[in-house]
């Protein structure tokens, strides 16, 4: 907590994020309507925001506010699981490759290349066809197909960091590799990892929506912010009932924003280099 209070913005962001997480946990208490309740009546379909429906209704007369509240469950689970999977795999692979170098590096980097050049779409179709994944499955799939960027970035950072004097010093002092990696290398890469992780969360929320289109993601009647946004991508809907697209978009935006501010503060706390510059907001 001390880390966060350093920075009012990050503190506010943390509170907002907590509220969002709270909404996910206590959805039934916060939602005003049954998010799945379809009302096929002209006076219920595509209504603008009102006291009855805070965020309006969609083209099947469902309450958008309630759908956003419930949709946060899917979206957050997918986003965070995907992010953690990707960050864990990527960091592990990148650090090992960058630090040990040599044949290990070559093998791991070729693996990254292979994963990068595989047709992800097919990968997803097959796994989806075989396992019929739920939202958790999609999250892990997204993580499994999205770690390569982090791996390469971490490797690059580790490569240049390990030439730095403090690593050489640590090595000269006979520190174990594990200690050097965890105590010297990772804290210095942490900033970049946090940036990536933040982007990964936003990316996962959005990719999930695009992937649903291919029949691999969250399918009705399940829904997430991403699928709500995707359903609203219709030109006509966008024009006549923009709230169907604006509110799920806003939910994603606010979450991403909060994560980034928190990430920025975390990084300040973590990364010794930026500490005394008073750097606060941003990645």
């Amino acid at each position: 907590m001390r880390i966060l209070t350093r920075n009012k913005l990050a503190f506010t962001a943390a509170i907002v994020l907590l509220l969002i997480i709270g909404a996910a946990v206590f959805s039934p208490l916060i939602a005003t309507h049954d998010p799945q309740l379809i009302t096929l009546k002209p006076d219920k379909i595509c209504r603008p925001p009102s006291a009855e429906h805070y965020f309006g209704t969609d083209d099947l007369g469902r309450d958008i506010w309630s759908r956003i509240v419930y949709g946060s469950r899917t979206s957050l689970v997918v986003a965070f699981v995907a992010m953690f999977t990707a960050v864990l795999l990527g960091t592990a692979c990148g650090t090992v490759a960058g630090y040990f170098g040599g044949i290990i590096d070559v093998i791991l980097m070729r693996l990254v290349d292979i994963f990068l050049s595989l047709p992800t779409v097919f990968f997803l179709i097959i796994i989806a066809a075989i396992f019929k994944p739920g939202s958790l499955g999609i999250a892990i799939l997204l993580g499994l197909t999205g770690w390569m960027g982090i791996a390469r970035m971490v490797r690059g950072q580790v490569l240049s960091l390990k030439e730095r004097e403090f690593v050489e010093a640590a090595r000269a002092l006979g520190y174990s590799d594990r200690r050097i990696i965890f105590a010297h290398l990772l804290p210095n890469v942490a900033g970049q990892i946090i940036v990536h992780a933040n982007l990964a969360v936003a990316g996962a929320i959005l990719t999930e929506s695009a992937v649903s289109f291919l029949g691999l993601g969250v399918q009705p009647p399940q829904f997430s912010w991403g699928t709500m946004l995707y359903a609203a991508q219709d030109f006509v809907l966008l024009k006549n009932a923009p709230w169907t697209a604006i509110f799920p978009g806003l939910a994603i935006f606010v979450t991403v924003l909060c994560l980034n501010y928190i990430g920025g503060a975390l990084r300040d706390a973590w990364d010794p280099k930026v500490k005394n510059s008073g750097e606060s907001a941003g990645f």
């Binding site: 500490k275 005394n276 750097e279």
Partner: protein, 324 residues
């Protein structure tokens, strides 16, 4: 007293961090004459580096702020100089050598490029000429194989070589004032001696003034005419070298002298801006009183004034009756 080159009155440097202000330099006066070598002596974290940066106005508004009653350099008031004017002064009239050479060399350029750049900023010259001059400078600072060295990247050089590259870079435009911040920490004793010799030669031949900032009294003793002893952001004692060595007034100076006698090898503590933080949360009273063997009651209550004895001055309750 030779012609005055730099005259600083009541310099204060405050660093800003995300949650506090740290006064790294707390009202010091420094005077450097033309062609004079002046030592600034103090242990790690006492604000020596902050002084060096402040003199060149190298502290950005993000990092902190400097203030002074006056900062006259060659009769010009540096405080009133715009950033543009400072750019013209930096490197040409006033140059600086940093310690921790690896960190102060840009890893992306060859050292030759970096030295040549320092030359090109201030004189219209062809790149090739500048490069040749850079090689000459490397020779000047006793780098073996200067031509190859110029084409090397910093990480390909040893710490000592890097240090000499930084020195070469500072000397590139024959500055009138060289601020040398622990210039020889990374060097072995023979090279150190040669560098000092070089400083002396440049002083004699070109009339270059040097502000030698170090924790090493021995180094100062060998070369400087005047010595300022600094502790926790304040000047504790100022005198010419002989007087300091023969008759140190301030208890801190005495401590330094003792350590010079007993320690064969100086501990090479890395010193940089961050350690300045130690000063934050200063207690009232003399900065040194906690470590002082002869501390009196007053020492913990009021900061002693700098008592001027004409040619020398000292900040200690032992010597003057200040206010209160």
């Amino acid at each position: 007293m030779p012609e005055i080159l730099l005259n600083v009155k009541n310099l204060r440097t405050v660093f800003l961090t995300s949650n506090s202000r740290i006064t790294a330099v707390d009202g010091i006066d420094i005077t450097i004459g033309k062609g004079e070598i002046v030592g600034l002596l103090g242990e790690s974290g006492c604000g020596k580096t902050a002084v060096a940066l402040s003199l060149m106005k190298l502290i950005t508004p993000d990092e902190g702020a400097i203030s002074a009653d006056s900062m006259q350099f060659k009769g010009r008031e540096l405080l009133l100089c715009s950033e543009e004017e400072m750019c013209r002064i930096r490197g040409k009239e006033m140059a600086i050598i940093f310690q921790e050479p690896m960190a102060y060399l840009n890893p992306a350029f060859t050292v030759g490029e970096q030295i040549a750049e320092a030359i090109l900023v201030h004189s219209p010259m062809k790149k090739k000429e500048a490069w040749e001059k850079a090689v000459d400078l490397l020779k000047l600072v006793q780098i073996p194989g200067a031509v190859n060295c110029a084409a090397a990247f910093p990480h390909q050089l040893s710490g000592g070589m890097q240090q000499r590259v930084l020195i070469a870079m500072a000397l590139a435009c024959s500055p009138e004032l060289l601020i040398a911040d622990e210039p020889t920490t990374a060097l072995d004793v023979t090279v150190q001696a040669r560098i000092m010799e070089l400083f002396r030669r440049l002083q004699q031949e070109r009339g270059m003034s040097v502000l030698l900032i170090t924790h090493d009294l021995a180094l100062v003793a060998g070369i400087a005419s005047q010595v300022y002893v600094m502790f926790a952001g304040m000047i504790m004692e100022k005198a010419n070298t002989r007087e300091i060595l023969s008759e140190p007034l301030h208890p801190y100076t005495r401590e330094l002298l003792l350590s010079l006698c007993y320690l064969e090898k100086q501990e090479q503590r890395p010193e940089n801006l961050k350690s300045v933080k130690n000063i934050s949360g200063i207690q009232p009273g003399c900065r040194f009183h906690r470590r002082c063997s002869g501390a009196m009651t007053i020492c913990s209550k009021t900061v002693p004034p700098l008592v001027d004895f004409g040619r020398r001055s000292v900040r200690c309750w032992l010597y003057g009756k200040g206010v209160g």
